[in-house]
């Protein structure tokens, strides 16, 4: 390749990299802000009521914020040092960051799930912490992509079924369809984890995936602000 062409290619690659990082920054920032707004926006409701459901709902969004913070951190490392920097790096730092991201993602999903079922299944949150730690360690040390995908799909199906059954058995005076938003949120959070560990799967649909994720978080934030005042 002529040196001029090579220089031009490098320039285009740098521009693409900058755009990609820019999208990543905006995406993560909006989700972290939405999650923290949900967390702080419901503070008074929880302080007054001490309602367990509200407690776990808030914690879910705090963990979403933590997970997305580490997600964007990992993406930065991947952009600058490549995928191997995260998965195969011998440094304890890489493994620790990935563990925190996996644990926070799992706990965000589990807290949201538990906020809905905690009335029927009291004082069992420790089981979800345990499951999140085991899941994160398995993914970290057992590097089999197919097994990893299957674990995530199975987890998603279990949670979605649990939420749906809980919705069917709820005694609320008026039933709404909010459980669908929860199921979508589970799906997109698991896709976020897949996007970090198996980036090729999301590939060219990344922008669509980002936009739908943002839409779900903004819908929840809108509902929370409308209801919590």
């Amino acid at each position: 390749m002529p040196p001029m062409m090579s220089g031009r290619m490098q320039e285009v690659m740098n521009q693409l990299l900058s755009a990609s990082i820019g999208i990543e920054v905006v995406y993560s920032f909006v989700i972290i802000v939405c999650s923290l707004m949900v967390y702080f926006g419901t503070k008074e409701l929880y302080e007054l009521s001490s309602h367990k459901g509200i407690k776990y709902f808030r914690l879910a969004f705090l963990f979403f914020a933590i997970a997305y913070f580490f997600r964007s951190f990992i993406k930065f490392l991947v952009y600058f040092f490549g995928v191997r920097a995260i998965r195969d790096a011998p440094q304890i730092i890489g493994a620790l960051i990935l563990f925190i991201f996996l644990y926070a993602s799992s706990m965000a999903v589990f807290y949201l799930f538990y906020s809905v079922i905690c009335k029927k299944w009291k004082n069992k949150i420790y089981l979800f912490h345990l499951a999140a730690v085991i899941l994160s360690l398995v993914i970290l040390f057992y590097r089999n992509n197919i097994a990893y995908l299957l674990i995530n799909i199975l987890l998603f199906l279990l949670l979605a079924l649990g939420i749906y059954l809980s919705h069917l058995s709820s005694k609320g005076k008026k039933k709404n369809k909010f459980f669908i938003v929860y199921i979508l949120l589970f799906a997109f959070l698991l896709l976020n984890v897949i996007d970090i560990l198996l980036p090729n799967i999301i590939g060219k649909y990344q922008l669509t995936f980002y936009l739908i994720s943002l839409g779900i978080f903004m819908l929840i934030l809108f509902k929370v602000l409308k209801k919590a005042g």
Partner: protein, 88 residues
């Protein structure tokens, strides 16, 4: 129909608000709870500072609503509607 926890708390706070300050025994009677359940709720409300207990000039202990308790009553509908909306 069985009252929910948040509803019971609201009812107790409403009684206290209506009386401004009330002794424990009439509050128990008006709250429509067994004495054991009433004690549990009473303890919880004191701990969470939704109510306060003070001795009056005659040396009798009376219960009154705190600022946080008034805020609870103001926000009660919002809390219940939030829980319903998000199926918590």
């Amino acid at each position: 129909m069985k009252r929910e926890r948040l509803e019971i708390i609201r009812d107790i706070l409403l009684i206290i608000r209506d009386y401004k300050s009330i002794k424990r025994t009439p509050l128990l009677r008006k709250s429509n709870l067994s004495s054991q359940r009433f004690s549990e709720y009473f303890k919880e409300l004191l701990e969470k500072e939704l109510i306060g207990e003070a001795t009056d000039s005659k040396g009798k202990k009376k219960v009154s609503l705190t600022e946080k308790g008034s805020r609870y009553l103001e926000k009660y509908r919002t809390i219940v509607s939030f829980i319903d909306e998000f199926e918590l």
